[in-house]
Amino acid sequence: MSEVIVITSGKGGVGKTTTSANLGTGLAMAGKKVVMIDADIGLRNLDVIMGLENRIVYDLIDVIEGNCRMKQALIRDKRYDNLFLLPAAQTKDKDAVSPEQMNKLCESLKEEYDYIIIDCPAGIEQGFKNAIAGADRAVVVTTPEVSAVRDADRIIGLLEANELKNPILILNRIRVDMVKRGDMMAMDDVTEILAIDILGIVPDDESIVISANKGEPAVTDPSSKAGEAYRNITQRVLGNNVPLMDLDVDKGLLNKIKKFFKNGN
């Protein structure tokens, strides 16, 4: 059974593309046949995050306009041969596609792939409407900031109005030190405000910047904390019950004492 999952947020810069790349790669690592669609026409980025920017020949618009066959536009990943990217067009604008065309595209991909991950553009205009048109399920990405949570709430309302019921939340870029100080909203605060189920929490992690620099998703890095968070998220998307990650590295008095003595030596 195939599933089309749209990754959305409303606000820009909260981690939609990073989430799309890591979830797509994670599902491919689990042996699933996956296509990632970059629906951010005019501002494509999923290709650079995946490290596939040099292999683009055709794009989403070429497929929709019939300039090439689907097989010609799909880029096979360097690491996993069951993972593909359909890049966005960089020179067209978002009105070049209609929701009906996107829906048709998703339906045809469902015949051959297990998961279709759509990286939605920021905003609530045409690009958003196109990206969600063919989706079966929606994931909302937000950070624990007032502006991002507010936009997430708006997006949740719009998704539900468009028959995408029960979207699930990824809370990204959590800083445990700030949460502890009472200077950042914790997961419970955000889920309470948005009244939505949680798919996963991702810590604010340097490895995300490093992996973006290299074009290798963090989910493939066994030592990355954020990578671990995305591996957990992947498992939950596959229907496996994985406990939420404990982001707190040095909790408890005993650990603090241990750490103190370790540092002393």
């Binding site: 007032v146 949570v149 009472g182 405000i193």
Partner: protein, 92 residues
């Protein structure tokens, strides 16, 4: 909570964020701007003032949320706290 925040009365910035968000989302969800609310407030004062003298300084009108049994979850509610100073003699 650490010892310092226990003794200081200042709310943490997280709580400030949460309170502001709750308020802004209530308005976003019902699509009611503060401007509309201000107009509503003026109208309410005008009507009530025909019957009683009210304390306009202490008047509090806001949109909050309330739990209902009929619909699913919470719905927006217009909350008004209007202190009365005295009744006016109304000509019947």
């Amino acid at each position: 909570m650490d010892l310092f925040s226990f003794f200081s009365r200042k709310p943490s910035s997280k709580d400030v964020a949460k309170d502001r968000l709750k308020l802004v989302l209530i308005h976003d969800r019902v699509n009611c701007s503060t401007q509309v609310l201000e107009m509503l407030k003026t109208d309410i004062i005008r009507v009530i003032s025909n019957y009683m003298e009210i304390d306009e300084e202490e008047l509090d009108i806001q949109i909050t949320q309330t739990e209902t049994e009929s619909s699913n979850g919470s719905v927006p509610m217009l909350y008004a706290n209007i202190p009365i100073k005295s009744m006016r003699k109304v000509q019947m």
